[in-house]
């Protein structure tokens, strides 16, 4: 006897990087709970994962979720990695009244009260913006003269929303100068021209938003132009341990605002287990997939039974405390819209070989280092 | 003779510097067969393309039934009653012979209601009715040539331009086509035919126009044209100066 849970991610197609990472996190979480004796409150029942692949297409998110619900007989679904797949997914969950745990996308529409069956364990766009402003704060504590700020965002849904929020926030700050606001094509093969324009605006700090590939391309472009600002990144664009593996010292000193850092106390063991199982470092998406799955399993364990209502009731009452946070969340408890009240971000930095948390001070493992930089 | 149905007046067609057709004039009367001959590259096909609207003349005018049709697009000329075949046969390969001809019937904006019946009648006239349901690409060359004629006939032309419909046929097959063409003349269709088969062109044509290097070098009844020195020099060669049969 097992209880089945579903996970829908893009395993193929354009979104396969993020989706694959998310799925691996979910796999690890389920493997661990099964190894530890299954769901304790339900007589140690084992959890079985049923996977769905959206192929990065919204209509397949619909089809796969329905397949998982109707044929896979899953009691809840998790996923997906991008909001254009997750929004249709959540509509299906809504229609069938099956709980949906949103693991990765930070689109606020998922938890703005319109969806009754979606719970989001992770952060929302505006949290990143708050985090970025914190990071600027952190920088100004030692180098108050770094007031010229440039912004680089992709022209996809994530980038445009972040760009809008960042612009609004920076406009409030009379002490800062926005030297350039640059959009790049999310599908672009290189970022030379955006980097060139950034450099020409002579910023002290570059805020960059985007995914892993953009992080690779931007860092290479900065290097080509001998352009070395203080970098604060979000998403997969900075602070991903794989970046260090791919780019070496090009990423040295870059800051990242992230809901997850590998050196958070509870995360270290997970990182090691992940590396052992998959032979690659635990990334942001993997960690979020893992964490969302943990939340889902915990709710399942604490539910009276495996009906949708029971699981939903369990999710509403769920409380997970600080000690178990492998992500930057302070705790987990959902508000009436299904948004995690304890969600939070930290600032990390590549320092030499290490990727360490440097802010806020109570979670930091090291001090932020603002090394030599040039912008002219 | 009746008034000319088709009048070609000082028509030229140049390709860049090449004067493929250079200042050529002639008339075609109702119910007449006019032969157009000349060496390879003389501009005969180009003349056809110009009359049927596939090329715009560089200079000159063309009138049909008293109307100036110079520069009209091909489909409009076809609807007016100028039909043509192509030197290189261009059947609709992947549909049946009958469908080919039906397309000809409905082409000039006619409804499909009794098109099949009309198409069958046309096929009979060119002796292809027994091949109606065969895919056009499976026809032998002489049949393809007759299909080419049939499809053009289906548009109910008053003038039919035939470009080498006898090339590559055996003498017996040529006789068959000649018979069909003679039948068309009896129906009152005017024919302009290009052919290198002297035996056929000399016996069929009422008159012959000879072109060389884009220019008209001779015009007249077959016997006279065949004896013309310029024509012998440019086209026939000494050995071929036989009078029409």
């Amino acid at each position: 006897e097992t209880v089945k849970v579903g996970a829908v991610y893009a395993l193929t197609g354009a979104g396969a990087v993020g989706g694959g990472d998310g799925m691996r996190g979910t796999e690890l979480a389920i493997e661990q709970i099964n190894a530890a004796g299954g769901l304790k409150n339900h007589g140690g029942i084992q959890v079985e994962l049923v996977k769905g692949d959206t192929q990065s297409k919204p209509i397949n998110a619909v089809g796969e979720t329905e397949r998982l619900i109707n044929e896979g007989k899953v009691v809840l679904v998790m996923g997906a990695a991008t909001s254009n797949e997750t929004l249709p997914l959540s509509q299906v969950a809504e229609k069938y009244g099956v709980p949906h745990i949103n693991t990765i996308p930070q689109n606020e529409a998922m938890t703005n009260g319109k969806l009754k069956w979606t719970w989001s364990a992770t952060v929302i766009d505006s949290d990143y913006v708050d985090g970025i402003m914190n990071a600027l704060e952190m920088i100004h504590q030692t180098k108050p003269e770094l007031t010229r700020v440039a912004v680089l965002v992709p022209d996809n849904e994530y980038g445009i929303e972040m760009g809008r929020l960042l612009k609004a926030e920076l406009a409030k700050r009379k002490d800062l100068t926005l030297t350039a606001f640059i959009e790049y094509g999310a599908a672009a093969q290189e970022l030379l021209q955006p980097a060139l324009k950034l450099k020409a605006s002579r910023p002290d700090v570059v805020i960059q938003v985007g995914y892993f590939r953009a992080g690779v391309l931007a860092s290479k472009a900065y290097e080509q132009f001998d352009f070395h600002p203080v970098v604060i990144g979000t998403g997969g664009m900075s602070g991903d341990p794989k970046l260090r593996a791919e780019l070496g010292k090009l990423v040295d000193g870059q800051f990242a605002v992230t809901p997850f850092a590998g050196d958070l106390p509870a995360a270290i063991a997970v990182s090691q287990a992940f590396e052992k199982k998959f032979n690659q470092p635990l990334t942001l998406n993997s960690a979020l997939g893992y964490f969302g799955t943990l939340v889902a399993l915990r709710a399942l364990d604490e539910a009276k039974g495996f009906t949708s209502e029971d699981i939903a009731a369990s999710l509403r009452q769920l409380k997970i405390d600080k000690s178990q946070m492998i992500v930057a969340s302070d705790y987990v408890a959902f508000d009436e819209n299904g948004r995690n009240k304890g969600r939070d971000t930290v600032v990390t930095q590549f320092q030499g070989d290490a990727l360490v948390t440097v802010w806020p001070p109570e979670k930091a493992r090291a001090k932020p280092e603002i090394k030599k930089f040039n912008t002219n | 003779m009746t008034r000319p149905l088709l009048q070609v007046r000082e028509v030229s067609r140049w390709f860049g510097g090449l004067r493929a057709v250079d200042n050529v004039s002639f008339d075609l009367h109702e119910g007449e067969i006019l032969g157009l001959i000349g060496p390879n590259g003389a501009g005969k096909t180009t003349m056809f393309e110009t009359i049927s609207g596939f090329h715009r003349p560089t200079a000159g005018t063309i009138t049909f039934d008293g109307r100036d049709i110079t520069g009209q697009p091909p489909h409009r000329l076809a609807r007016m009653g100028i039909g043509r075949t192509f030197q290189i046969v261009q059947p609709f390969r992947d549909v049946s012979v009958l469908e080919n001809v039906v397309a000809g019937v409905v082409g000039p904006n006619k409804p499909v209601s009794d098109a099949r019946g009309q198409a069958r009648a046309v096929l009979e006239r060119v002796k292809l009715d027994h091949r109606a349901s065969i895919l056009a690409r499976n026809l032998a060359l002489p049949e393809k040539k007759r299909l080419e004629v049939a499809r053009a006939l289906a548009t109910r032309p008053r003038v039919l331009l035939l470009d080498e419909v006898m090339a590559g046929l055996t003498p017996a097959e040529i006789d068959e086509i000649m018979e069909i063409l003679a039948g068309l003349r009896r129906e009152g269709i005017a024919l302009l035919i290009v052919e290198h088969v002297m035996r056929a062109i000399m016996s069929l044509s009422d008159r012959i126009v000879v072109m060389a290097s884009g220019r008209k070098i001779a015009e007249g009844v077959p016997a006279v044209v065949a004896a013309n020195d310029k024509v012998i020099e440019a086209y026939l060669g000494r050995r071929n100066t036989h009078a029409p049969a």
């Binding site: 193929t12 354009a14 396969a16 990087v17 694959g20 992709p154 022209d155 350039a180 640059i182 959009e183 790049y184 094509g185 999310a186 599908a187 672009a188 093969q189 290189e190 030379l192 021209q193 955006p194 060139l196 324009k197 020409a200 605006s201 892993f212 590939r213 690779v216 391309l217 290479k220 290097e223 080509q224 132009f225 001998d226 794989k242 791919e246 780019l247 070496g248 690659q280 | -």
Partner: protein
């Protein structure tokens, strides 16, 4: 912001990127423009070459340039195998059969790479050519300059090969009329095979050259396929010098467009120029003359 001073840099970036487009498109020119084989998997062979280069670096510690000795033969072999098993049997088939077969091949290649290497983004730095040239205010990567230079040489070399050598002439003859070429004593099957292997195999040469300044994912080749078709058409189908010119134009339009606009508006400009080009000069940059 005053963008004018940045133009030289954008232009340089565009030329170098254009050279890469050109060299990828040159292979397509041979297979599509000359042999008329519609190969939607063209770019995916570039990805194969990049993964070979990557493996060379990871497993043997090879510099990308050294991996040339692996990538070139392996991609060429893959091309030969593809030709024998998939392309040769459909040479006479209608174009749309070729499209479906090569789309199928593209799916297979991309997902094979996905299954083996995962969707992760990788880079392959070179220690030989890691530096950056600075001319005045213009910065260019050494590796990109090398790739651009080789690209130009290869385009000219292929032009020479096709027009000035016995084999080249026979390839062109075979491409224009296979049976007639056979009746002239041309070993047509071998010529087709050779042309396909050169056209696709050249990607095995390209891959190590662009590896130091690009990245690898299983789908990286797909974006090149589309651009290559555009470049081939822009540069007059089947013309190598046209491909070179077409590559430069697309590269520069992208780069300068990227400088003057932001985000994907850049793509809009590139496509708009391409469409206008097709509408008003469909025979391509170098006139209608095919090989």
């Amino acid at each position: 912001m005053d963008l004018l001073p940045l133009l030289p840099q954008a232009f340089a970036d565009g030329m170098l990127r254009g050279a890469v487009y050109a060299i990828v498109a040159v292979g397509l020119t041979l297979t599509f423009g000359v042999l008329r084989i519609v190969n939607f998997a063209h770019g995916d062979f570039l990805a194969v070459g990049l993964y070979v280069t990557y493996l060379g670096a990871k497993l043997l510690g090879f510099d990308p340039y050294l991996s040339l000795v692996l990538a070139l033969p392996i991609v060429t072999l893959a091309a030969a195998f593809t030709y024998r098993s998939l392309v040769a049997p459909i040479l006479d088939a209608p174009e749309h059969n070729q499209i479906v077969v090569t789309l199928g091949l593209s799916l297979i290649l991309q997902n094979l790479m996905l299954a083996i290497f995962s969707a992760d983004v990788h880079t392959i730095p070179s220690t030989v050519a890691s530096g950056v040239f600075a001319f005045d205010a213009v910065f260019v990567q050494t590796a990109a300059v090398i790739a651009g230079g080789v690209s130009i040489i290869v385009c000219l070399g292929l032009y020479w090969f096709l027009h000035r050598t016995e084999t080249g002439r026979q390839i062109r003859a075979a491409a224009q009329d296979r049976d007639a070429a056979r009746m002239c004593g041309v070993k047509v099957d071998r010529m087709y095979m050779l042309a396909f292997c050169i056209g696709v195999g050249s990607l095995g040469l390209v891959a190590p050259l662009i590896a130091p300044f690009s990245y690898i994912t299983p789908t990286v080749g797909a974006s090149f396929t589309l651009t290559s078709f555009i470049v081939v058409v822009l540069g007059s189908m089947g013309n190598f010098l046209g491909a070179l010119l077409g590559g430069f134009i697309v590269g520069v339009v992208e780069a300068v467009g990227g400088l003057l606009t932001g985000g994907s508006i850049n793509f809009i400009i590139t496509y708009a120029i391409f469409i206008l080009f097709l509408l008003f000069k469909p025979e391509g940059l170098l006139g209608g003359r095919r090989l």
